[in-house]
Amino acid sequence: MAQPESARRRPLEGVRVIDLTRIVAGPNATRLLATMGAEVIRTEWHDDRAIDLLRGVRPYAPGGDPESVNRSGLFNNINAGKYGITLNMNLPQGRDLFKRLIEKSSVLCENYSPNQMERWELGYDVLRKINPSLIYVQITGMGKSGTYNGYLSVGPTAQALSGLTHMSGLAEPMAPAGWGYSYLDHSTGYYGAILVLAALLQRRRTGRGCYLDLSQTEAGLMVSGTATLEAQLTGQPTDRHGNRMQSADWAPHGAYPCRGIDGWIAIAIQDDSQWASLVTELNAPDWAQHPRFAKAIDRKTNEDDLDRLMAEATKNLDRYDLMHRLQNRGVPAAAVQKADDRCERDPQLKARDYLQPLPHSEIGTWPIEGFPAKFEKIPVDVGGLPHRGAPMMGEDNDRVYREVLGLTAEEIAALREDWVI
């Protein structure tokens, strides 16, 4: 039976994206566009100075050629669903080919260092003459305009500047804990995808393209917004509060040790009724009956003692068992899960097919983290149009240069010979 029309269509059908991104932030943006059905063409070069560092980042798929640039698991996860070509942008012929690709594309997403495109004479002023309806999203650490327009950044740099590092961790005199991963590489990628999706809607209506200068640091400032307002109100510098809830009298509210190596449970008590349930599950210890913990405001006032006593009470308990016992009583509680827990002991992620097995042309089929929403109609596929993991370096040269630019096999061979592709 023929499928309905909508079942064959994807949101970004017919949208070609030139992906001139590296590391994590930019590739995350284009990954999401590929998931939504865009034809994302990842454009790379393979000499030592130009290669995407992520191709060399651990973990690697086991076995195979240790010198291969196609075996990074992180690269595979972040670049799933894309086509891959090589293109030497340092040669005039390479830049000419790039312009021809731009002419045939809807979107350019790029996150080289801030002035690299101008050094290649490929700034927006040049590109929009080639393709007036082009949507060009440029991702930099601080933002391309402004006084820091030459400053360099990776996710942790932007996290430091935006205040996120300072705000995460236990109160002074402890140092900031910061973030144990590049959250702003993830989040900036999400914003990159949002900007493109919104600009495409705008272009459908107006026919106009646009240039968007996306800043990782500003993505961080979006997270710390409420604290920024409070600091203006009080005139006091923003502080950090560990895992405690500052916006309401919720206590206990934190991570408490459990049995086993580095086992923890997070518990968030929102009201007196949940507190009563927690006390029951902890076998009603004497300390928990004390009036200083009777009401929410009392528990908040005595939170240091409360946290210490809670830690004593949970330290010999199994984190999953306690989580489920508390949940059965309607108490928000969750095991602090590591990656092995999420892969092996999380029935929810399994039931929702969170990990999607996708083939890769060199390393075989591996699970890829999926898109966190299901759609009733829209076919969303983290494997993108090619329905596979990340491309090998230059894997799709023949297809892209032939089908997109109309080059012959002989022309492609000559470009390869001349070190242009």
């Binding site: 950044s153 144990g180 200068d213 309401a248 929702r352």
Partner: protein, 421 residues
């Protein structure tokens, strides 16, 4: 206020009904910044987030929450009890003209309203419904009770954020949830991706859709190297102070400055970084032995020891200057370092002022403006997104919105009498 920003009309004419609780508010706010007409449906007592601090006045009234005013910028407020039987007529009229309904909360609550939304979709097949729930609308964990903290625990973020272990590898500090509402930020960003993708899909097909977004999955996608490390190598990463969680200990990034602050100063071992850091040491007049024959020999014979010594020497360099001086001097040399700022320190920074990162929003109860972070991108000059208004007062737009939806004065009087509005 700037409402002429490059992308502020991307969603012009798009009407979004935002129901539910705090879990969906960030998504609605981002959509408002793209020009959508976001109508917040609040019960007569107002949204949960009106009761979260910090508050602008000691009364802690529903109009005084900075948490609410931050996450509801640019929206209209309709005071309507959506679960009230008499609200149906109002919802139907609103939904006839709406493009998107966002509902957020516990799955059972959202699902209870889902049959109504499906009926509304029958009448308006272009309607997009986005359900934001802790685990999605199915699966064994569907009905677990969750908060931002417990989502960050179960989703894997907490396990990678925190402090260094003791020398024996065990931890005496808890995993850290980096910042309040981070889980809802991640979910909100994904919700906007999903909704704008669905709007693009609707341009192609004329059809709406139902989006079932899981906060747990959204958080799970956001731990960078943690999942691939387990999937490919069967290894688990361990949290460390102020830097990425890793399989084995890495050198510190956070370093103390002369003014008692911190900078994030990475130690890349490459030749260029080594050279410019040595230059900085010489310029600052700090005694060091990095250019000595003995040190050159140490680099060859014991790279690990040499690296530790290099890291200690960077500590000395950083300790000789104030944080902001380290930041600017290092960036002038092309190092990816940054000062660990309080978020509010960016308000007066000329870089962010030039970019229009913050937008002044008036607070009548304070008799002054507060600067809100509103934009993550510019169009090359001015901010690309902005808000046309601050957060609404409770029910501020009830009459206006319902009248525009076609309800008569008599119907409005009846809804009032029945305490539905």
């Amino acid at each position: 206020m700037n409402n002429e920003a490059a992308l502020s009309s991307a969603l012009a004419g798009t009407v979004i009904l935002e129901c539910g609780d705090e879990r969906g508010e960030f998504a609605g706010m981002l959509l408002a910044s793209l020009g959508a007409d976001v109508i917040k449906l609040e019960g007569r007592n107002g949204s949960n987030s009106r009761r979260f601090g910090p508050f602008t006045t000691p009364e802690r009234g529903p109009e005084h929450s900075l948490c609410f005013s931050r996450y509801n910028l640019g929206k209209k407020s309709l005071s309507l009890e959506i679960d009230h039987p008499s609200a149906r007529i109002a919802l139907s009229r609103l939904a006839n003209r709406a493009d998107v309904i966002i509902d957020s909360g516990e799955a059972a609550d959202v699902e209870r309203r889902l049959s109504l939304y499906r009926e509304l979709q029958q009448a308006n097949p272009r309607l997009i419904v986005c359900a934001i729930t802790p685990f999605g609308l199915d699966g064994p964990y569907r009905d677990l009770k969750m908060t931002n903290l417990t989502q960050l625990a179960l989703g894997g973020v907490m396990a990678v954020c925190g402090y260094d272990p003791r020398a024996d590898g065990t931890y005496d500090t808890p995993p850290i949830a980096p910042e309040m509402w981070q889980a809802y930020h991640i979910a909100g960003e994904y919700a906007v991706i999903a909704i704008t993708a669905a709007l693009n899909f609707r341009e192609l097909t004329g059809e709406g859709d139902l989006i079932d977004l899981s906060i747990h999955e959204a958080v799970s996608t956001c731990t960078e190297v943690a999942m691939p490390t387990y999937i490919y190598n069967g290894a688990v990463v361990h949290r460390q102070t102020g830097r990425h969680a890793a399989e084995s200990r890495t050198r510190p990034w956070l370093r103390r400055t002369k003014d008692g602050r911190y900078v994030k100063a990475f130690l890349f071992w490459g030749g260029r970084d080594f050279r410019v850091i040595t230059e900085m040491l010489n310029e600052a007049g700090i005694e060091h032995d990095l250019e000595s024959d003995e040190y050159r020999e140490l680099r060859k014979s014991s790279p690990s020891q040499a690296q530790a010594h290099f890291s200690d020497t960077i500590d000395k360099l950083v300790a000789s200057m104030k944080a902001e001086e380290v930041f600017h001097r290092a960036q002038a040399k092309g190092l990816l370092w940054a000062s660990v700022r309080y978020p509010e320190e960016n308000i007066d920074d000329p870089h962010f002022q030039a970019r229009g990162t913050f937008q002044a929003i008036n607070h009548p109860e304070l008799g002054r403006d507060l600067d809100y972070p509103v934009s993550v991108a510019t169009d090359g000059k001015d901010r690309a997104t902005a808000f046309t208004r601050g957060a609404p007062r409770l029910g501020e737009h009830t009459r206006e919105v319902l009248s525009r939806a076609g309800l008569t004065d008599a119907e409005l009087r009846e809804l009032t009498a029945k305490q539905a509005i």
